[in-house]
């Protein structure tokens, strides 16, 4: 009456049990690992920072006066480096030591006499522009009054213009 024909069931049962346990263990302990680069969190922080700084540069400190950004854009390429300098100063501002790894490049988009959109570089080229990290682009609209070409090639000086200031911001 004692034979080993029941061993088959036992072995099958053990195998089935092992499969189920292993599956349960795999399912419960598999966690997704997100690196901050995958989730674009640094990009989001940088974009919000850049937008804030441009918005604050575009807010006049005194009611009725023109904003600092407006004044700097009107200087054309001559004040492009100053614009970049003030923009970066605003981005680096922090309670403790300033956040020094940031770099930026400023562009201006406007409509020419022919009606097409042209983009020029306002600030001088950063030596580290090639071979850099991913950039974030922040923009701000500026109204330029009529009466001058503001150093911008092919700009019609007889009417007021709406131009777009674009700043590329990246971490060195």
């Amino acid at each position: 009456m004692v034979n080993d024909s029941g061993q088959l069931y036992t072995m099958e049962g053990v195998a089935a049990g092992v499969i189920m346990l292993l599956t349960a263990y795999i399912v419960i302990s598999t966690t997704s690992i997100y690196t901050p680069g995958d989730t674009h969190i640094p990009d989001m922080q940088l974009e919000q920072l850049g937008s804030d700084v441009l918005a604050m540069m575009d807010t006049p400190d005194i009611n009725g006066s023109d904003s600092r950004l407006n004044g700097l854009v009107r200087g054309g390429t001559g004040t492009g480096d100053t614009l970049r300098g003030e923009f970066l100063a605003g981005c680096k501002m922090r309670y403790e030591d300033p956040d020094n790894d940031l770099k930026a490049q400023v562009y201006l988009s406007y409509r020419t006499l022919s009606g097409n959109v042209s983009t020029i570089q306002l600030s001088s080229l950063d030596p580290e522009f090639t071979g850099r990290e991913n950039t974030v682009r922040v923009t701000r609209w500026v109204q330029l009054p009529s009466g001058s070409t503001y150093d911008l090639p092919n700009l019609e000086s007889s009417r007021p213009h709406a131009v777009l200031v674009e700043v590329l911001l990246w971490r060195a």
Partner: protein, 347 residues
Amino acid sequence: MSLDFLAGFTIFMLALIMVVSMVPGLLAGLESSGIDYDAVAYRTGVILVEDPGWPVYPPWEMNDLAHKGEIERIGLAVSKETPNILLSTKVDTFFNGSFFTPDDYHRLAIFGDIPYSYNFSLSSGGALIGQTGDPLPPGYGYIRRVVKIKEPGVAMINGSFASDYTAPSSNQEFTVRLDFGQLLDPTIGPAYRIDPRTEPVNVTITDFREYLNTTDPSVTNATLKSVTFWKMDPTRPIPQFTRIPFAYDTVDSNLYTLYIDYRDGNQDPCPLRPDGGVEVSENITLVLKPAATSLFTLDQNSILDIRFNFDDDPSRTNITGIHHYDYNQTNVTRPDLKPGVLEVAIW
């Protein structure tokens, strides 16, 4: 070996290989709640910097400790239309450690069920304006917002006004007039508006010697009898000024501060109607806080008068006239918007 056995064993081996290949992932052991920190910091940053808070009117920062439960959300922006421009009174209330507890910050600024630790700091030009929370750990979620801070103006009445506000036969009453219809002008943006309902009204009379009666050389001071508040509603058929009932005799620094002859150092605040009057020789500084203005039940057309009464017989001061607290830069010096940085850390 039977086919059955091989099939069963193959399945087992497959499962084992899968487990072994997932072991490196299991050993990394990254806590998923850590990813949340930057997102929560961003959300808190938006609430603080772009939202005026709730309730907006009457402003949440006006509530005292007894009414703290009515605050639903803390926001520092001047208004909904002016994101990134913070109001100094809201900033002061926010960083007031004796008003808000850590639990309040969780409930009203951070939100969510997980008890995050936080650190908020607002600085301007390298100097710290306010900071609250725990010291920063090695890893945390972070957002930095660049802002501008709107500070209240001061009506500085110094010696240069002496020719306008003195007269030989003066009634010894000097009035500072706030015309709400003019002040709450909707064409002026909220970032530049003077709003006595939300910001303190500061009246500083200096160089008081210029306002003394110079015919008598022995006169070195004058007696301030009282500072009273009067209101008028110009939309009524027969508008007239009525005195506002107020606790003129008690000193309450939540409602106003009045300093006489203020010099650096500790100075005792004075009640608005001091017993027997108080001698003024150099300056008077009155700060009327929005909590008091809200008690006056004024509407957007009212005119509020702050009257300084001097009572001397014979009169020792020639001060008289009405100083308009309006948008004229000589009448009220309004400081420029101050740039600042708000940093939010969550962990």
